[in-house]
Point group: C2
Chain length 297, copies 2
């Protein structure tokens, strides 16, 4: 299950542009996770949300019976990427209905074993946590905004989730440690057994217990649209965990490679096109290439 934003995205990168396309954290996550596992999506959109987008989600096999369609407007985000794709500027953002979203987990979904709390206020994320079972594997994603403005809620969230993901500059800000390895370990001390530091084009590093697993990004040359890279990484990661229901170090490592493969396919295409059209075979091919690259035998 993923709880998060379903959005209409308008994006301009040096290589592509689109208007009011299907986007949002929950959508990017689901588009990746669906290749591995059944996905339940909890979110909210307005009456302006195109019927085509609903169909697209349904046809992708995502269970959207938890997607509220209410009077009002859908979350809209407009962004523009720098020439080197490593920086982005938010041109405009309108939370609309998502701003007051109070996720209600359907009774039948409360025992979902793997839950992704996409980026949202820690209080919203905590409210979902209160509705699911205690032994659920919960990965929460967060961002600089909450570190700066909702530290208290974030610390409570950290004390209660199994895993947290955030990017490198955010990990440094939250831990007040410049060394990323120290930063990850410091964040583990705040509660989560597992910490994932996303390092953009350099990959990601997972901390579990006293073990540290850095994984480089898939060496792709065709970055077209970085939107949703982190969420599709999380989707591949959580989907792969859910598929085998294993959370031992070896399963975590394998899931990291699937997350990396999903993120690479996501960024090579505009909007959700990459993971919409990808097959499980495409993902397996990338997993094998990555493992081959990383086998320093």
């Amino acid at each position: 299950m993923v709880v998060g934003s379903v959005a209409l995205d308008t994006v301009e990168t040096p290589l592509c542009r689109y208007r009011d396309s299907l986007g949002g954290s929950a959508v990017h996550f689901a588009m990746a996770a669906r290749h591995f596992s059944k996905v339940r999506l909890l979110g909210i959109v307005g009456k302006d949300f195109p019927e085509d987008h609903v169909k697209l989600l349904e046809n992708a096999g995502i269970d959207i019976s938890g997607l509220e369609i209410k009077q009002g407007l859908t979350f809209r985000w407009e962004g523009r990427y720098s020439q080197d794709m490593n920086r982005r500027e938010t041109v405009s953002v309108a939370l609309n209905l998502f701003g007051d979203f109070k996720p209600m987990v359907p009774e039948a979904w409360k025992d979902t074993p793997f839950v992704f709390l996409a980026n949202a206020s820690p209080w919203t994320q905590l409210s979902v946590l209160n509705q699911v079972e205690r032994n659920t594997f919960v990965l929460a994603d967060t961002m600089d905004l909450w570190i700066e403005t909702e530290k208290k809620g974030l610390m409570e969230l950290l004390s209660r989730v199994k895993a947290i993901s955030l990017n490198d500059s955010e990990a440094r800000a939250l831990s007040m440690e410049s060394n990323l390895i120290k930063a990850g370990k410091r964040i583990q001390e705040m509660g989560p057994e597992i910490v994932i530091i996303k390092r953009g084009e350099h990959g990601a590093t997972l901390f579990t217990g006293d073990r540290v697993f850095p994984v480089p990004a898939y060496p792709t040359m065709e970055v077209c649209d970085p939107t949703g890279a982190g969420d599709s990484f999380a989707g591949g990661f959580m989907g792969a965990l859910a598929e085998t229901a294993g959370t031992d170090p070896s399963s975590l490592k394998k899931a990291l490679v699937y997350g990396t493969a999903c993120a690479s396919i996501n960024v090579e295409h505009p909007s959700v096109d990459g993971l919409l059209n990808a097959t499980r075979e495409t993902l397996e091919r990338r997993r094998i290439i990555l493992q081959e690259i990383l086998s320093f035998g």
Copy 2:
């Protein structure tokens, strides 16, 4: 064989400081490479170069019969690192004798099979290239200064060496490509069969033929002094290649891991202390840990 600077370094980092310590690219390289192979060092120092430093190099098993000791002053560099160690400021630099260094390769050294041309003007590097045999495996290191001021010499160098190493921002500047994978491939097109892009705390990426091998940094928490990280990486890499005399993809990958291990030990200690005191066993332990971390079986 390494040709490059032998210096007196004065360094201040948030965790350590030292004055007029043994430093320089050639020294950091040699201190790593000596763990794997016999090392010949070609360089120049002045009469001010302490006898203790000469002894230290000799005791480390480095052949310094190619180290000229001339009337005049040794290359001096003074640097200061930022709080997060990721930026450094050159407080002062005095090339002294190194500024007019015309390396003369001893007759007996001309058939050395593996040669590292440490960072220097491309014209100086080319003059060494003219003195060694054609089928020598030459890795040249370069930096932004030469990309900006000696593009012509650098392009000639690139057309003649087997391998080049440079950091990520330099690779982007030289190739005029923001995507690092494209940047590496573009630089290969300029001549070198092998390109190594150093990515600091994120590791390094090696390009050989149409293969790309990213390797993350060793997850160290104790970065004390980043000075010489790139050169000790090159030392471990070239030393390991020289040890087995293999340059196939599998040897290159294994050498990358040794380079990574050497760089991590270098940065954990001030000046050359780390690799001076390390044993081969320490390096093997790190290689095994790295390979274990990277085996996504």
